[in-house]
Symmetry: C2
Subunit: 328 residues, 2 copies
């Protein structure tokens, strides 16, 4: 029997979940829920019903795990606890500072209704968190470094688009190679914001706009750009579409620690991702954790959990003995 | 109350465990067991008793987790099941092909005696296995690559030392940078043995030995060197001691997969280690898993488990809420 997955919210992440399910034979897409008019949605998988988000509860018996694909700012804080009343759920809540509150709200609903909820699943939070945690457990004395990129920051791209005279824009966050190398050598440098990342902007200016002013406004924008070395390239709308349409991303989690009686030996653990599609990879992680959610529910467990609570084997289609024979 | 750790076998790995315990405040070294004369052993931690290995069972109430630090060839297949009669145990059994048999033997003893046993803990098997497994679960369609090095291979160093005219030798396994780069680009190359690693040998020849013959014998040695591009450097005993005394190692686990409805996007996951001391890092991993073994035992669980079965949070000194607040 296949695990019946529901997608709640059909944006980039929801579409990524739809494609990830195709790579997992033990799963099937059972339904898509949308806040738009269900009749207006053309999903990629034939024969799968599209329902109105407000009617989700009525379909609770058709779904084993509901994947919440909304945003962390306003959608998930409401949707995840609400849907945990009816469904086992997985979300990718990524506002790090608000995770404890979100956890508490979801945990209460999930426990009350005997459901499993996995929150903050993806790559950061998610796979990066796991690697921070494993590396800290293994090397208790050391320093942590997280670098992001080279990749598209939606927030920074939006900030540029709000500048007068800007037609469209794409911003890349770029880790500074020299800083990465210094960290990899185990030298435990103390790095400023400017030393860790640069920002590279591709901007389409409106006809007749003052490019010098636009560039200055970008580079001086507090929080977003002022603390970074920023470069601005003006390009045509065609070039933007041709060369900058991918939502690529990635990054590096490094822990640099010491071993030995007198801490005389260095040990560096590095985890990195290079992703052509940020939302599709996030979705791929979520789908693996949906399998774990399903299994935990079948074992009679309930409540809210994170990647830290999930034994790795629960993510895999392979049995415990297959895993030992092929992956250990 | 601290977790009382016993070390069974005081070689490089046992010494690594001793130093790793010092970085974990919730643990204490309770005893060392040795097959040598206990009176002849000078361990680094004052006040800790050294007992004869054959008397270990008599001390079972003094130890929460016994860490087995013997070799995989002949020690652990006997010691781990035997000691699981009396202790919760962790070993670093690393003969990949024999893991299923070892698991079965240890599982039977651990279950019969209500103990927890964790086998094949370290970095390969261990952290590398975890990363292979996570990456396969997240990217079901893709290719796996493991590269080892740059690091010392004890087996290859020993093989050189057995050649006539060789006084001493150290062999480094070196990943081929061009192959690594090709894999990182997501091109899923099919790589031969020769294309993945080279072998670099530092040899001290005996006085008057025929160096040309030694070099030829090394390079033509089947299994060990014949399938690799091998370089041989003759150096003095002083140079070997000065420049090649560390037992450094490391490596890379890479999974290169696809995402997207039509698999049009690449995703590359890379995990790597750079270690000045292979046994000390292995010991650091084992010690973190000893914490998990202790907790599982206190929860009333028993039987043999591997890194795949252990929820990450069990490795950390931090509470679940601390982990969510600081690492997620």
């Amino acid at each position: 029997m296949q695990i019946r997955i529901g997608i709640y919210g059909y944006g980039n992440l929801g579409k990524g979940v739809e494609s990830a399910i195709r790579q997992n034979e033990d799963m099937t897409l059972a339904a898509v829920f949308t806040r738009r008019d269900p009749g207006s949605l053309n999903i990629a998988t034939p024969g799968v019903p599209v329902y109105a988000a407000q009617d989700a509860a009525a379909h609770k018996d058709e779904i084993d795990v509901l994947i919440l694909c909304g945003g962390s700012a306003t959608d998930l804080p409401v949707q995840t606890p609400k849907m945990a009343e009816y469904f086992n759920v997985v979300d990718s809540f990524d506002t790090h500072a608000n995770i404890p509150d979100h956890f508490a709200a979801v945990d209460e609903q999930a426990k009350r209704n005997g459901k499993i909820a996995l929150i903050s699943v993806g790559w950061d939070p998610g796979m990066f968190s796991l690697n921070r945690m494993y590396a800290n457990a293994v090397l208790p004395e050391g320093s942590d470094y997280t670098f992001w990129g080279r990749g598209v920051s939606q927030g920074h791209s939006d900030a540029i688009r709000r500048i007068e005279g800007v037609e469209d824009a794409k911003q890349y966050t770029v880790p500074v190679e020299a800083a990465l190398e210094e960290v990899r050598r185990g030298n435990n440098p103390v790095l400023t914001t400017r030393q860790k990342h640069t920002r590279e902007c591709f901007v389409v200016a409106k006809e007749g706009a003052d490019k010098a002013r636009i560039e200055r406004e970008i580079k001086e924008m507090p929080n977003y750009f002022a603390d970074y070395d920023t470069t601005v390239h003006f390009i045509s709308a065609e070039e933007l579409k041709r060369d900058h349409s991918k939502i690529n991303h990635g990054g590096f989690v490094i822990r640099s620690g010491k071993t030995g009686l007198n801490k005389e030996n260095r040990a560096v653990i590095e985890y990195s991702l290079k992703l052509d599609s940020n939302p599709e990879f996030t979705a791929s992680v979520i789908v693996a954790y949906a399998r774990a959610a399903y299994r935990l529910y079948r074992q009679g467990e309930c409540g809210c959990k994170t990647v830290f609570d999930i034994a790795p084997a629960l993510l895999s289609r392979l049995s415990a003995s297959q895993l030992r024979a092929t992956m250990l």
